[in-house]
C-alpha cells in the first residue's frame, strides 16, 4: 500500500451549482444560488420535532429536574 502525497482538505462540494443527485434533468445554472439539499430540510425538521418533544415533556413535568 502506498501513500499518495495528496493534500486532504476534506471533500469540497463536487456539485457547486446544487444540482440534485439522480437522473439527469433540467440543470441549474451556475449563476443561480443553490437550492437547500433535502437532507438539510430533514435534519431541520427532526431537530424542531425533538425540541418540541423536549419542551412538551419539560412543561408537563416528565423531565426530572435536580432540586
Amino acid at each position: 500500500m502506498t501513500n499518495t502525497p495528496t493534500e486532504d482538505t476534506h471533500v469540497t462540494d463536487p456539485n457547486p451549482a446544487g444540482n440534485p443527485p439522480g437522473p439527469p434533468g433540467p440543470l441549474r445554472r451556475r449563476d443561480q444560488p443553490p437550492v437547500r439539499p433535502r437532507w438539510v430540510n430533514v435534519f431541520g425538521i427532526v431537530v424542531i420535532v425533538l425540541i418540541v418533544v423536549f419542551l412538551a415533556l419539560h412543561f408537563t413535568g416528565h423531565v426530572p429536574m435536580h432540586r
Partner: protein, 176 residues
C-alpha cells in the same frame, strides 16, 4: 486566514483526537450511569457517581471545548469556511448547543455525586439517576450524528458559500 498544509493537518488531528475522546468519554459516562441505575451493590453505585463527576470535569468538558475550538480553527483556517457548507454548519449547530447543555448539566451531575458522597442513594434519587442515563444517551446520539456528518460530508453549499465561490471564480477570471 489560510493555514499551511502542516498547520491544517495538525488542527485536523487535534480535532479528530478531541472529538473521538469526547465520544468515548460520554460512552463511559453512559455505561457508569446505567450501572449506577441498575446495580444493587451500594458501594459500587456510590463509587460510580463519584467517578462520573471527575470524568465530566476532567475529561468530558475539556475535550468538548477542545473539539469545538479545533473545529472552529480547522474550518476558519481553510477554504472550507464555517458557513459555506451545510455539513459544517450543522456540526456547529450540534456542537455549540451540546457544549452549553453540558455546562448547564454539570449541576445535576455534581448534585448526584455529592449525594453519593454523603449517603447511599435511595428511591428519592431515582429521577436524578434516570436523568443521567437519558442525558448521556442523548449526548451520545448527538455525537454519533456529528461523527456521521463529518465522515460522509453530505453535499450542499449555503447561499453564502455559493456567493463566496462566485467571488473567487470572478477573482480568478479577473487575474487572467
Amino acid at each position: 486566514m489560510t493555514m499551511t498544509p502542516g498547520q491544517r493537518r495538525f488542527a485536523l488531528t487535534a480535532h479528530v483526537v478531541s472529538s473521538v475522546g469526547w465520544f468515548g468519554a460520554v460512552a463511559v459516562f453512559l455505561a457508569l450511569s446505567i450501572a449506577g441505575l441498575t446495580s444493587r451493590d451500594v458501594q459500587m453505585v456510590r463509587a460510580e457517581y463519584l467517578v462520573m463527576e471527575s470524568i465530566t470535569w476532567f475529561v468530558i468538558v475539556p475535550l468538548c471545548i477542545a473539539s469545538a475550538l479545533t473545529g472552529l480553527v480547522s474550518s476558519l483556517g481553510t477554504a472550507l469556511g464555517l458557513f459555506r457548507h451545510y455539513w459544517i454548519l450543522i456540526k456547529l449547530v450540534l456542537t455549540i448547543p451540546s457544549t452549553i447543555v453540558l455546562i448547564v448539566h454539570m449541576g445535576p451531575i455534581s448534585l448526584v455525586s455529592h449525594v453519593a458522597a454523603e449517603r447511599p442513594l435511595s428511591s428519592a434519587d431515582l429521577p436524578l439517576q434516570i436523568q443521567m442515563v437519558a442525558a448521556a444517551g442523548a449526548a451520545l446520539l448527538v455525537l454519533l450524528v456529528a461523527t456521521g456528518v463529518s465522515v460522509y460530508k453530505p453535499r450542499g453549499l449555503t447561499r453564502y458559500g455559493w456567493r463566496k465561490q462566485q467571488e473567487q471564480a470572478m477573482h480568478v477570471i479577473g487575474r487572467r
